[in-house]
Amino acid sequence: MTRILLRPRKLFKVPIEASAISPDNFAAARKVEEIKNQVVWEGNRPATLASIFDVEELEQGGELLEIIIEGDASKLRGVGKGMGSGTITVEGNAGIRLGEAMRGGTITVNGNVGSWLGSRMRGGRIEVSGDAGDYVGSAIRGSTRGMSGGQIVVRGSAGNEVGCWMRDGMIRIGGNVGQFAGVHMLGGTIVIEGSSRGRIGASMKGGRIVVLGEVGRVLPSFSIEEIRNVARVGEDRIPGPFYVFAGDLADDGDGRLYVSKDRNLELRFYESYIE
């Protein structure tokens, strides 16, 4: 197991395009010296890793590679981009597009992360202890290729458009979410343990969203189907009862919303529509 520790040498002012920080890249570089010479962009100037991080090799040997970033990495962008294996651990806050286009491996963040967490992710696992920004697991602008595999777990809350254009895979949010969770969703599963600020599953075509907290109002383009006592997500079975809505009918969608019955009493009027 090779373990590399990166500690920012200063408080970053401008954004750092740091997609060079990825296990695949470091594994290819093999020796620490080469890792130190990897290039990142500090705003509009290329900079070697060593010029802005203290780079330390904690452990040497073996295939598996772990990168640890200690300190405030919130200005780092695209860390772990396209990684296929290995581990990144961030002790502190991480920035935008963390784990973008990830194919495998694990990212763990003990802190908050910026927007576009795991955008276009194909595989692997991301775990965030704090909050995430908007567009968790989403596609890039103009594309319909959102997250298509892997797992994202955010213990805290997340912003708007969680799982936008999601195709497959699993997103679990421990806290609340903003608006439009699952917008344009095509497949996969989103579990929200907290509440949503509304408009869940807008324009969704497929996939499932399970909300354990409050949802405010459900969009008029969803129609109630049934009440289910449990939602099966992977191995675990989340106890309900849930109102199950089908939609988004405005886009001929066949997705499902599982909304906790007990936490959303104002939705009871829908029960009259259940055949």
Partner: protein, 563 residues
């Protein structure tokens, strides 16, 4: 600056030169008899030397192209170019930014490109973009097939006034030729409809597409325009439309002396069959007609198996494409003139329809005997990006290349086309005709597409020896060489070396400075000044584009119209 290109194998069909070892002398941006001893020597030994490429139909600039750029950030995301000391940064693939467009054409040895679909009301936008498209010379074709003034003059039989109007419009828009797209159909689309064929009436205008095409063909002759009317027929993209294409060619036959109609991106209008499942190639019938009639030229509109973007003035067709594919759709109607539509597309090998379309394009080029009547285009980016031209060349020059691609495409489509049986393989001379000499001739650009004395010194040199290589077998080597020119010379300056930009120059914008007799000119000016604001939301004085708005204006005088 004097240049002497030595020992190259020159292919210059317009001057009857086919793979002869000759020297080419260049001075002051022109090809000359000979140069002094102080001329810079460019050793083209064992290399193919041809005139700079002339692309007759490529959507590279204007409001429609920009609508597509804004629609497709995901298309730019993977294909970008970093800035260098000499070149600007940009994005590529199916809707490249303007700088990247100019550099990529020059790298491929192309030196003149036509933007074929300009809404007159927004011609200023097209010229804004052409000014920012480096190195290549260019021109644009304003759209007239659904223009209210044109339809009214032709309906009332005022052919002279129509000619005077077109003459004013070419000067107002700084345009080069008359472009017709789905005549009458786009006007019907402004109510959500379309026209069914050549003889259905345009709502509220009481005129038929046939009358529009014939009228504009007559006006084209009256104004003595260098290029024939450039026509995108009705029913494009509809199974069974090959008949409409033949009728469209036929309906101007009697007006002919010399080429009088050019059918553009003919692949999309050569469909037989009733619906998509019974789609067949109509290339044989179209080719038979073109072989028998000398008033027609066409360009291929070849498709490439790739993801790209369709964009055309044919609003109703793009809506149909949206309904079929379900992909995002942009429509932009232009008041009193034309329309535009943009829909992304993916041409798949496994698709029966796409595989048939692929075969149709090549069948047209292989079945039409006279290479001076058919030109190589992909209707960029509708069929595929222009950077795929070398691949189309390899299919034309090598039966083996065709077979290899056919073996990996929908076999039901492969069986139902005759492409399998076509043995013909293009020579370098024929390739030079369909990509330079033929297109320049059709456009009437006398100083382009050939290397005779007096021609513009636009030259492309490729690192293949036409004498030794067997394109049929080594089609990959041909393709590779044509992708990145060993040298591209523009107006006598070396702008590209081994596919790298060496110098950035500003290309010309050609336009027709058309004139009609004084009295007619005053009459049309009076009429337009009175009624302009009834037709448009802008004034006549703000519609007209001044010559100063072109970065390097190059007007062409064609003498006063014969009215």
């Amino acid at each position: 600056m004097e240049l002497l290109i030595k020992n190259g194998y020159v292919v210059d069909p317009a001057n009857g030169i086919d793979c002869e070892k000759l020297d080419i002398a260049v001075r002051g941006g022109k090809i000359v008899e000979e140069v002094s001893s102080s001329a810079k020597i460019l050793d083209a030994s064992n290399m193919l030397v041809m005139p700079g490429g002339v692309d007759i139909h490529s959507h590279i600039a204007g409001s429609k192209t920009n609508l597509a750029r804004v629609l497709r950030p995901e298309d730019h995301f993977r294909d970008f170019e970093r800035r260098t000391a000499l070149t600007r940064s940009g994005v590529g693939h199916s809707v490249p930014s303007t700088y990247t467009t100019g550099y990529r054409y020059a790298r491929m040895g192309y030196t003149t490109v036509i933007e074929p679909a300009t809404p007159p009301l927004k011609a200023r936008h097209t010229h804004d973009e052409l000014n920012d498209t480096p190195i290549i010379d260019k021109a644009c074709f304003p759209l007239f097939g659904n223009n209210w003034h044109v339809m009214e003059y032709l309906k009332n039989g005022d052919l002279e006034l129509c000619a005077a109007y077109l003459s004013w419009m070419l000067r107002a828009t700084k345009g080069y030729a008359i472009k017709i797209v789905n005549p009458g159909g786009v006007e019907a689309w402004h109510w959500g409809g379309n026209v069914v064929g050549l003889d259905s009436e345009v709502p509220h205008f009481g005129i038929t597409p046939r009358e529009i095409v014939r009228g504009l063909c007559k006006v084209n002759k009256m104004l003595k325009l260098p290029h024939a009317i450039h026509v995108h027929p009705n029913n494009l993209g509809k199974p069974g439309n090959y008949l409409t294409t033949i009728k469209t060619m036929e309906c101007v036959k009697d007006l002919a002396e010399g080429a009088s109609i050019h059918i553009t991106h003919c692949q999309f209008t050569s469909f037989k069959g009733e619906d998509w499942s019974t789609l067949r190639s109509g290339a044989q019938e179209i080719a038979r007609y073109v072989n028998r009639n000398d008033h027609v030229t066409i360009d291929m509109g070849q498709i490439i198996f790739t993801a790209t973007t369709t964009m055309t003035g044919d609003g109703p067709f793009e809506y149909i494409l949206h309904q079929i594919s379900g992909r995002k759709w942009v429509n932009k109607d232009v008041e009193a003139e034309t329309g535009a539509g943009v829909v992304p597309v993916v041409y798949k090998r496994r698709s029966f329809v796409n595989a048939t379309q692929w075969a149709i394009g090549l069948e047209l080029a292989l079945l039409i005997e006279d290479p001076w009547k058919v030109y190589l285009t992909t209707d960029h980016p509708n069929g595929g990006p222009f950077t795929a031209y070398p691949r189309v060349v390899s299919w034309l020059m090598s039966k083996r290349a065709r077979e290899r691609t056919m073996s990996r495409m929908n076999q039901s489509a492969a069986r139902k086309t005759i492409l399998q049986s076509l043995e013909r393989e293009y020579s370098f001379e024929e390739i030079a005709i369909v990509t330079r000499a033929g297109t320049a001739k059709a456009l009437g650009l006398k100083a382009k597409g050939h290397l005779g004395v007096g021609a513009d010194a636009d030259i492309s040199i490729y690192r293949i020896n036409p004498k030794e290589i067997d394109p049929s077998r080594d089609y990959r080597a041909v393709r590779k060489a044509l992708r990145r020119a060993a040298y591209t010379v523009k107006d006598g300056q070396i702008v590209v070396k081994d596919g790298e930009i060496k110098e950035v120059v500003q290309g010309r914008t050609f336009w027709i400075d058309s004139r009609v007799p004084k009295d007619l000119e005053e009459k049309i000016h009076r009429e337009l000044s009175k009624s302009f604001r009834e037709y448009y939301t802008v004034g006549m004085e703000n519609y007209f584009i001044g010559e100063g708005e072109l970065a390097r204006s190059s007007p062409i005088y064609v003498g006063e119209a014969k009215v």
